[in-house]
């Protein structure tokens, strides 16, 4: 890989061991994936919940954080994905002290490195959205796919270590979706019925993701007959990235790089599949059979926007949840929800509004064991994809249906 003189000095250790590790890491990754050099990036976004880090990862971060300030500070704006807890609610969730302790140590380490603890996976709605062709080092697959596809940004999936390396160097290896040649569509899908509900958009994303199958596929969708909202594309993209490991999609006539099919694909490209209401319903039915009651209802993954919170609060007005009802949002949205009385309305109906965490990133297995949760209802297709491996029996329902289940304790059929 070609390195600038400054990058070579970092590799030699002139800027200390943190930046030396970072550039070495980026070279290992870049060589594997065919990068010829590093590209400057505007922001880095780090996923680092402590279930993923473990004590070994926290120890490793603390060693970096113990370096002199000029050696440990991030060089570009560097923000964080959701944490593994909401400190204000950890006891209520029955999270253990050692989990909270690891989280606090991680926060302290990141803060000493000049990292902004935004604790959000919806930074494209709340912090500073990317602009078209802006190179980024984003963690969280949902952030990457939304930013690449809806905003026209350029980022690969950057796991926690690589996003941290990008924060320390201000660069990332130039491969994959930083390059024009990887941004063309590789498969074409017709949407026969434009989805209505958020979980329908998630189901569509899941189906496209299963068909795409890997990171290097770029689906293009035709047939969507209206401009989706940011929340709809948020759920679609999160599910597509989750089920397919996909980082970029195009919606013809909607997303910025694809005003026409010929802008991203050979117009003669054959359609690989058609997805309509019947197919989405069949997908959702996979997750509802043999489950009549649920132990917990969760709205998360991605964190809810202010508009989703308002919709949920209206659905809950005058009703009372009989099962635990967890609602997860970002630390940027939560104060607005508090100020506007939305949090109070949800919690008056028995819900619990959590901030800065995400359910599956918060020791989901231990939460299940401590609280006796197994059957879980959600409107997040991404969440149902993840939680099976954690021992849950997840059910994918609409937001309204989830509210009904929370209030009745049963799944109406």
């Amino acid at each position: 890989m070609h390195l600038t003189a400054e990058e070579q000095s970092w590799l030699a250790g002139d800027a200390g061991p943190a930046r030396q590790w970072a550039i070495e890491h980026q070279m290992r990754v870049g060589r594997y994936l065919g990068a010829i050099d590093l590209v400057p990036v505007s922001q880095a976004h780090i996923m680092a919940d402590t279930e993923s880090l473990g004590p070994a990862g926290v120890d490793w971060l603390e060693r970096l954080a113990a370096l002199p300030p000029d050696q440990r500070r991030a060089r570009i704006p560097t923000i964080t994905d959701p944490r593994g807890t909401d400190f204000a609610a950890a006891a209520r969730l029955k999270q253990q002290d050692w989990m909270v302790s690891l989280e606090r140590r991680t926060v302290a380490a990141f803060e000493s490195m000049g990292i902004l603890m935004t604790d959000t996976c919806i930074n494209y709605q709340t912090i500073m959205p990317a602009i078209r062709n802006e190179h980024m080092a984003y963690g969280d697959t949902g952030v990457v796919i939304y930013s690449n596809s809806v905003l026209g940004a350029r980022s690969n999936f950057e796991g926690g270590p690589s996003a941290l390396a990008a924060g320390l160097t201000g660069r990332t290896p130039r491969y994959g979706y930083h390059l024009d040649q990887h941004r063309n569509a590789t498969l074409l899908i017709r949407v026969a019925d434009t989805p209505h509900e958020l979980h329908d958009w998630g189901a569509l994303g899941a189906l496209v993701g299963q068909l795409a199958g890997d990171y290097w596929q770029v689906p293009a969708l035709i047939g969507i007959d209206r401009v989706p909202t940011s929340d709809e594309l948020k759920h679609f993209g999160a599910a597509l990235a989750s089920f397919g490991s996909v980082a970029l999609f195009h919606m013809i006539g909607i997303t910025p790089e694809a005003p026409r099919l010929q802008d991203v694909a050979d117009p003669a490209m054959p359609e690989r599949a058609t997805f309509g209401t019947d197919v989405l319903a069949a997908f959702q039915a996979r997750y509802t059979s043999n489950i009549d009651t649920v132990d917990v209802v969760v709205f998360a993954a991605p964190q809810l926007s202010l508009l989703e919170l308002q919709t949920l609060s209206r659905m809950l007005d005058g009703r009372r949840a009989r099962t635990p009802l967890l609602v997860v949002t970002s630390p940027q949205v939560k104060p607005d929800a508090d100020r506007m009385g939305i949090t109070a309305r949800i919690e008056a109906s028995g819900g619990l509004v959590l901030s800065g965490m995400c359910f599956y990133q918060s020791y989901a297995r231990e939460l299940a064991e401590a609280n006796g949760w197994q059957a879980l209802a959600t409107n997040s297709a991404k969440l149902v994809n993840i939680l099976g491996g954690y021992g849950y029996r997840p059910v994918l329902l609409s937001m309204q249906h989830c509210v009904d289940v929370a209030c009745s304790g049963r799944i109406a059929r």
Binding site: H25, V29, A56, G57, W98, G159, G160, S245
Partner: protein
């Protein structure tokens, strides 16, 4: 001996028994990392232990957590010996780089069809190109019992 050449690799040369399936790999989605078994019910290796095995699978899947989790798994020693994939994503590469984990990927044929489950294999990322060598083919062993639960 069958020799299968890969497009890219990293880590040290290792030998072990192959655990093979035409399915994906994600540390967060697919594994019970405490007990060292595949835990997602829909996964073709559900219930089987991955500890010390050379995993031969189709594609890297899931989210970004694997980038940290391989390092965490290595620190506790509840870890595969190596990962062999038809197709990687950046997360798997980043995780292998941090954990100093052996991984090779990219073959001319479907690697999950070319290697018998249970075969003894050698993964050599340092050869040019990286190679997977099938040293002997054996009858697949019965599924390993779950490891005793360990705290993080």
């Amino acid at each position: 001996m069958i020799v299968l050449r890969a497009e890219a690799g990293m880590g040290r040369r290792v030998r072990g028994r192959a655990l093979v399936a035409k399915d994906g790999f994600s540390a967060r989605y697919d594994l019970d990392r405490i007990n060292g078994i595949f835990s997602r019910p829909e996964h073709k290796l559900a219930g089987r232990s991955y500890v010390g095995r050379v995993l031969v699978l189709d594609a890297a899947k899931g989210g970004v957590a694997t980038a940290w989790m391989l390092h965490e798994m290595a620190a506790r020693g509840v870890m595969p010996a190596a990962l062999v994939l038809n197709r990687v994503n950046p997360i798997m590469v980043q995780g292998a780089a941090l954990a100093d984990f052996t991984m090779i990927s990219g073959f001319a044929q479907d690697i999950t069809q070319a290697v018998p489950d249970g075969a003894t294999v050698e993964v050599d990322p340092g050869s040019d190109p990286p190679e997977l060598r099938v040293l002997s083919e054996e009858t697949p062993p019965p599924p390993s019992p779950s490891r005793k639960r360990r705290g993080l």
